[in-house]
């Protein structure tokens, strides 16, 4: 344990603990939140917009629902959005980068020009357009962000493959008559995937920020479901007089994104990789 702490550093360990806490809250939300039914959306209009107190630790929202319970249930959405966006993007980007880097020539040229087109958009705008076209819903907003996200991984995977392709062990495999597909999948993919996974860990924070931005714009989860971005938007009408409605979910997004970012940095310092800029 202490060796582990030393490797991640104090900040990294603290952030890992924070992420684990949020993950546990998300997983066991129905048992850990004080008012699970309100967390899932049942209104409680007799207790509208109550300030934080012993009964409602973080106060209540415009429908009288316990903000703490909503924040705990909201962790499910933000966690899964952050992780799924990155996972979907890897699922598209990695094969594309592998194909482009391994085969080169016109395949490479064609695939890279396609990534150019995607990268030409300010990312959030394309996601907004796509999420609007697909309609609201968590999965749709995740897909919308992933579509703007994968080209980064494709580019990165391609660059890794280009390096690995020239390695002696790959040439050796090729001389021994190993099939192309097998070389690509067994000999190159594992080496190329590793730095991408580190990058993916760094990207969970920006990914969940982007998802919460879509949700803030009304392009995320559907109404009764609790989501942090949406809660900030709802609380905006009561800000700053009844600050707790927007502040609690806002702080939650900030903390989780911060935790992923600092932990990612700690991982990167060990593994090597680059911070992605959130545009």
């Amino acid at each position: 344990m202490s060796a582990f702490v030393r490797r991640l550093g104090f900040g990294g360990t603290l952030c890992l603990a924070l992420i684990v806490t949020f993950a546990l809250l998300a997983l066991f939300a129905p048992w850990l939140s004080p008012y699970p039914d309100q967390g899932m959306g049942t209104p409680n209009v007799i207790a509208k917009l109550k300030p934080p107190a012993a009964t409602f630790w973080l106060g209540t929202d415009h429908l009288g629902r316990d903000v703490l319970s909503r924040v705990i249930f909201g962790a499910r959405v933000s966690m899964s959005a952050g992780l799924l966006i990155v996972a979907f993007s890897l699922l598209i980007g990695l094969p594309v980068g592998l194909l482009a880097g391994y085969f080169g020539g016109w395949v490479d040229e064609a695939l890279m020009r396609i990534t150019d087109v995607f990268l030409a958009f300010p990312a959030l705008l394309l996601a907004v357009l796509l999420a609007a076209a697909l309609g609201p819903g968590l999965l749709n907003s995740i897909v919308a962000v992933a579509v703007t996200w994968w080209p980064w991984y494709a580019r990165m995977a391609r660059a890794e493959v280009l390096v690995l392709r020239g390695q002696p062990y790959v040439e050796a495999a090729s001389v021994m008559g190993v099939s192309q597909a097998r070389i690509a999948i067994r000999h190159i993919l594992p080496g190329a995937a590793r730095p991408l996974l580190v990058q993916a860990a760094l990207d969970v924070g920006p990914a969940l920020l982007t998802a919460s931005s879509l949700s803030f714009l009304g392009l995320g989860v559907l109404p009764p479901t609790a989501d942090w971005g949406k809660m900030v938007d709802e609380g905006r009408k009561f800000f700053p007089d009844r600050w707790w409605v927007a502040a609690a979910p806002g702080v939650a997004i900030f903390l989780l994104a911060l935790a992923f970012s600092v932990l990612g940095d700690a991982l990167r310092n060990r593994e090597g990789g680059k911070r992605r800029d959130t545009t």
Binding site: R113, A120, A132, A133, L134, G205, S213
Partner: protein
């Protein structure tokens, strides 16, 4: 020769990207939504209205033909009509685009103005409180949701301190009773040409908070890049020589070291501009800034796809152009770029 070839290739690739972007916007805005005709026909349309809308929108034509007419329309500045307001989108853009560009340009300027000097000082006083606050700030700015940061700034500077306006582009007594003549759409410029200093200051005051929201993140990056470059330069011999000559510290930092260290920070211009254009969608709602971002976010609610498509396309084109200009300028300044 290489420079000419590089320039041609960049221009050609940008043209390709423009076509690709148009195609993607076309697909997302016209092919993905389930029934544009029903949206066009308005609330609770009859079957005939929908059928009529299908003809008006030319939805039954083959896709390639639809794309060509879409691209031609976009290319000639005909963005169609808003589903909701039935106004010409090109007319709306004429008003909203300058507002957003003014915000984006000003925030980029602000990011450099804050980030570069902070980076210089952080490099000169490594480990000092300013250096630490700077690096802490740049870590925090990565994780801060734009929309929440905007609300916090409003809370502090407008509600508590009361030194900056809460929202809007101009005070109501100006915008309603004595509006600026619309010339460029950039309030700062229009105020200067109309020779109205009070309006200029008012517009400036309204710009600061939204621009600061959008500048925080790029300023952090500019600071990190400047700091790293400065630390490297400050160890060089010509700086040691300047010290030995007894030049003053500010003169060494800003006169001798910074010009060599400012290159990396300038790459932030493109990033900052893109970040501002994107963040505008979020920030403009909160600051009631009548620009493209708010136009888009209102269009989202009414599923006004022509508006979202036009705005996305225009903003992306601005962004592509900007990147092209930055790339080519960099090549002119430092021809080695073309070789890589």
């Amino acid at each position: 020769m290489d420079l000419v070839r590089y320039t041609l290739r960049r221009v050609f690739l940008s043209a390709f990207v423009v076509v690709g972007v148009t195609f993607l916007v076309f697909v997302v805005a016209q092919v993905v939504p389930s029934d544009p005709a029903a949206l066009y026909a308005g609330p609770r349309p009859t079957a005939e209205q929908i059928a009529k809308a299908r003809v008006t929108l030319d939805l039954d034509a083959p896709l390639p033909q639809r794309f060509v007419s879409f691209a031609t329309a976009m290319g000639t500045g005909d963005f169609g009509v808003s589903y909701k307001s039935r106004r010409l989108i090109s007319q709306d853009l004429r008003v909203y685009l300058p507002a957003t560009l003014e915000l984006a340009i000003f925030s980029t300027f602000l990011a450099l103005l804050l980030g570069i000097p902070a980076g210089v000082i952080a490099a000169a006083r490594r480990g000092s409180w300013l250096d630490r606050i700077g690096s802490l700030g740049s870590i925090l700015s990565v994780a801060m949701p734009t929309f929440f940061f905007a609300m916090l700034l409003q809370l502090v500077f407008s509600q508590w301190l009361g030194i900056l306006p809460l929202a809007g582009r101009l005070s109501q007594q100006i915008s309603i009773s004595d509006p600026l003549p619309f010339l460029t759409g950039f309030n700062l410029i229009d105020a200067v040409t109309a020779a109205r200093p009070a309006v200029f200051l008012d517009a400036l005051a309204h710009l600061i908070l939204p621009a600061l929201t959008l500048a925080a993140y790029p300023a952090g990056i500019a600071m990190r890049l400047t700091r790293a470059a400065m630390i490297e330069i400050l160890a060089r011999r010509h700086i040691v020589a300047a010290r030995a000559l007894g030049l003053s510290a500010p003169r060494i930092l800003f006169g001798h070291a910074l010009p060599n260290a400012v290159g990396p920070a300038l790459t932030v211009i493109g990033l900052s501009f893109a970040y501002a254009l994107t963040g505008a969608v979020l920030v403009e709602i909160i600051f009631a800034w009548p620009g493209l971002g708010r136009y888009v976010s209102e269009a989202i609610l009414s599923k006004d796809f022509p508006v979202i498509a036009a705005a996305t396309l225009v903003v992306t084109l601005c962004y592509v152009m900007m990147n092209l200009v930055i790339d080519l300028t960099q090549t002119l300044v430092d021809p080695r770029v073309a070789l890589t």
